[in-house]
Each structure stands twice: as C-alpha cells, then as structure tokens.
Amino acid sequence: MKILLCTNGSPYTARALDLGARVARRAASSVDVLVVAERDREKEARQMAEATAADLEATGVPVALHQRTGRMGEEVVRQAQATPYDLVVIGSRGRRGVVRLLLGSVALHVTGHAPASVLVIKGRARDLKRFLIGSSAGPVSEHTIQFASRLARALRASVTLLHVMSQLPLAEDAVPDDLGASAEELIQRGSREGVHLSRMLDLLAAEEVVARAVVRHGLVLNEIIAEAREGRYDLLVTGAHVTPGLDARLVDDLSADILLAANRPVLMVRPECVN
C-alpha cells in the first residue's frame, strides 16, 4: 500500500503525521511525506516531515520527501494526482459552523478531489484498533469493506459492520418486521440486508479480521455517529461519494456529512482505489 502523509507544520497535521506513521509502519510498502509550505510554518513542517521520515526508515519503510508551496488542500490534491497513492493521510482542523462556511474545509476538499482513499485524522485518536464500517448494502460498500479489511488486517484491528435502516413502510403490503430487526434476525431471514451483511462478514473473515454486524434503525447519519460514540470506535470507515452525472447533484453526500459530524478519524474509501 503506497501512502502519502501530509503536513504544513500545524499542530493538527502533527497528530495526523503521528497516527499516519503508525498506520504506515504496519500497512505501507512505501511512503511519501509531503511538506506544504504555508505562511511562516515551513521550518516546522520540514522538521516534522524529516522526523517522521527518519522514524519510518528506521523500521524499514522506504520514504521520499516532497515539498510544495501553496494552500494545503490544493497541494495535497495536486500531489495525489501526480502520483498514484492507495491512501492519503491528512489532519483536520475541525472547523465548524460559520467559520467552516467562510474558510472551507481542507479535509472536504481533499476527500472530494484526491483520486485516492483518504484517512482524515481528527479528535484525540491514539491508535486505530476498532473500526466501524458504514455499509449501505450496495456494490460500493463491497469495495469499501475490501479496502478496510486490508487495513484492519495490517493493523490487527477488529471491525464492526454497521447497516442503518432508515426506511419507513409506506404501503399496506410492506412487511414492517425487517424495519425493527437486528443483524442476526436479518441474516437468519435472508432479507436483502441480511444477505449483504452475511457476504461482507465472509469477506472480512477471509481476510482473517475479527468482525461482527450491527443494524440500527433511524436516520443514517445520526445512527452512524451514535454508534461510533457509544461503541468508542477508533475509526469510522465510509465509501466516498462518487455518484456519476446528474445523480451527484441529486444524491446527498453522506460521507461528507459523516466526516463533518464525526469527532474521530474517518477513512473515506474511493471504490476505484481497491486493487
């Protein structure tokens, strides 16, 4: 797995470098560390990058340093476009509300434009041992789970597969039983969601990852965030919003909503990045 770690010298990128290096030590075949020279933090950024590179080289991971000048989000995307990476690791300032509206979000820009899966480090995460994967019971989530399972195996992390049923019954002949069922019940009944969860658990088992499935009922975004909080997961995994054509304007970008609402690291997997 080729990984890109990024820093601009800010404390939030220092956390990202630290956790990114931990991931790289176990999962990377090679690492690029990108220094983005923004304002007056170039020196700090270089020092951080060199320290991380030295640390990784000491564990036998090949490392290359790169430097770009400009805005963090744009330069990370340019680097990711110039070199094919499996994973880009960035930090998040955690801007909220009006400030985010006015200044934008580096993480959103990178996840929206980089042609790679992106691990956004936010919150107080120290290690990535418990993954929560949001599964939408569609083909995209299969790619997400394949990618996440590789990472989970490398990090020896356990995985919880979460499917949220936000549906309401509208027709008389709708069977409401599935709308209140647990993961085990859905799997036992062989419902559409149950079949999907069962297949995904098999995929994870094939990668020798300890996994279980959970189904929650309610609004998708709220339930994912609630499960992450209640289960004290270290990492939230979701598929990136890559809906083509007009659908991209019609369908909600739930992965961006999750990224903004979560207070812990988020891995956004791009389907085309699965090898």
Partner: protein, 373 residues
Amino acid sequence: MHRLHRAFFAQMETDPRGEQQMGSQQGKWPKWKKPGLALSGFLLFILALGLMKEGAGGLAPLLRGRLEITNTADSMGFGWLMAYLILSGSPVAAAAVALLSADALSPLHAFTMITGSRLGASFIVLLVGFIYALRGHERWTALTAGVLSLLLTGSIQLLTLPMGLLILSRGWLNRLSLPALEKLAAGVNRGLEPLIGPLAAFLPGWVLFVVGVGLVTLSFRLFDQALPQVHLEKTNFGQVPRLVYRPEVMFLMGLVITLATMSVSISVGILVPLSARGYMRRENIIPYILGANISTLADTLVAAALLGDPRATTVVVTHMACAAIVSLPLVLLAYRPYERAVSDTLAWITSRHRNFALFLGVIFVVPVVLILL
C-alpha cells in the same frame, strides 16, 4: 382523507391484479376515459363550489349561533374535526373558502379552518393504526408514515399559523387580485345560476352546502382516477427508496409533483412502486412531505379563484406563502436538527403502544379543546 389512505395502503401499482384490472378497463374505456373523468371532475367541482357558496349564506347563523364559531381557535378546531368526519382535508379547505365567500366566515376564520383541515388530514391512517394497536398487532408499526405526515404538517402549521394571522390582520396581501380569474369566475357563476337558482328556491341553505361538500369530495375522487400514471423508475429518482437524496431535491420534487397531482397522498403514492417492499427512506420522505405541504393547497387556490372572491384567493395564497416561508429556511438552513427532532419524536411515539395511544388521544382532544375555547 380517503386520498391519503389510498396513498399509504391501496397501491394499485404494486398489485399485479390491480394492474390487470386497470389494463382491462383501459381496453374497454379507450383514450377518452381519463380526459373524460378529469372534465367530469372539474365540472362537478365547479357545481359543488356553486352549491357550497349558495348554501353557505344559510349556514352563517348556525356557525355563529349554535356551533359558536366565533374566534379563530373555534374555526381551526371546526376545520380539524370536519376533516376527521369526512376523512379528507381538501373538501374542508374548499368549504372554508366557500364560507368566506358567502360572508359566513371572516378571512381569519377561513385561514384557521384551512389550517385545521390540513391537521385533520391524516386521521384515517391513525385510526387504522389505533385499531391495530388495540389488537396488539405488530403491523401497526406499518402506519408510522401517517404519524410522520401529521408531525410534519403539525410542526409547519404551528409556525405558519401566527405568521398567517399577522399577515391577514395587517392586510399586507389585501391588494392581491387576479382580474382575469375573477372575470372567469363571474362567467362560471352566471352559467351555474339556472342550475343552482331553482335548487336554492326550495332547499334550505345547509342542505345545499352539505350536497356541495359531498360533490366536491366526489370530484376529488374523479380527479384522482383521471391522473396519468407516473413512472419514476427509469428517471434519476429510481433509487429513492434506497439512496439518501439531498433534502432540497426531495423538497422540490414533493412540491412539484403535488402541484401536478393536487394531493399529498397521490404524490406520496407515486413513490411507493419504486420500492418492491413498500419502504422509503425517512431522509427522503421528510423533505418530500414538507414540499408537498405547500402545494397541497393548489386545489383550494383553484376553488378560491373560481369563487371569484379576492379575499378567498388572498387567504389561500397567504397560507401557501407562509408554509413556503417557514419550510424553505428549514430545508436550506436548519434541516438536520429539524429532521432529527421529527425522527426522534416519531421514534418515541411508535416505540410503545401506550405512547401511540397517548398521541392519538392528544390529536383527538386538541381540536375539541380549540372549539371549546
């Protein structure tokens, strides 16, 4: 209310037998069937409005005297209970503008009666739900869409009500006038005179009014049957049951489809065949119903225009404008907290039979209390 009932329960599109029946009927009744039904419905609608307007004058003493509809709370409770009684909101809203046109109600009273009619419009769904709950039947959870619809309508109307009353009492939209429609209405009324005049000569006003309400209800049924079948399966909305669409997209979709069908129930019913299991994501249905709640008064607006009374048009436009003023910022600026609040309330109501029964009790008691105020 049969219209909403139809949307949630009687899905001909999902029933192969229903399709066969429709197909065979279409064979017998060629191309002109639907236009014929639409024209019959429209003529019946015009006649019903004429009868209601003619009969409404005779109802004024009954409303103000025996029923004591003297304040805006009374008229709201009256509209609410009327919608319960005839199991539909649209005929009650049409009756409100007819009563206004005949000076049996003031614009403020008509406004709150329309509000009441919207709130009473989910009754049948809840009634069936209550029966299921009493039987301890698991299927009662299948009726959560009815509760959701009422929660959405209630939350919007709660904000719309003071705004509308303020606008109407200050007369900010009083100059609203549609001369072309008023001329058309005058012509229609002249045309109806030979038909309604003799009836009015020997039938009491309240009888004319009741017959009018019956005919307007029948006309809505004819409209429902005349609507062309809309198939969204092959459009970009084919994944509505599964994917989460942007709230503003679903809001606009609900507004436009309801404007075309003039019924929330029909427009919701159009979504149902998209899901083989009859499920719909609540993230999609919430903004959809919010949009639909604005344009659902389109038929009342047509009624007001046909009555040729600018006051009636003003009341309906005020209602629609207030619903839009409340809903738009909600969808664009505060959608997530609103969606969460509605979803949490829905979860609480449907989590236990006792909560559901309590909710039903409240929606029964409130309109009665309003009338007693």
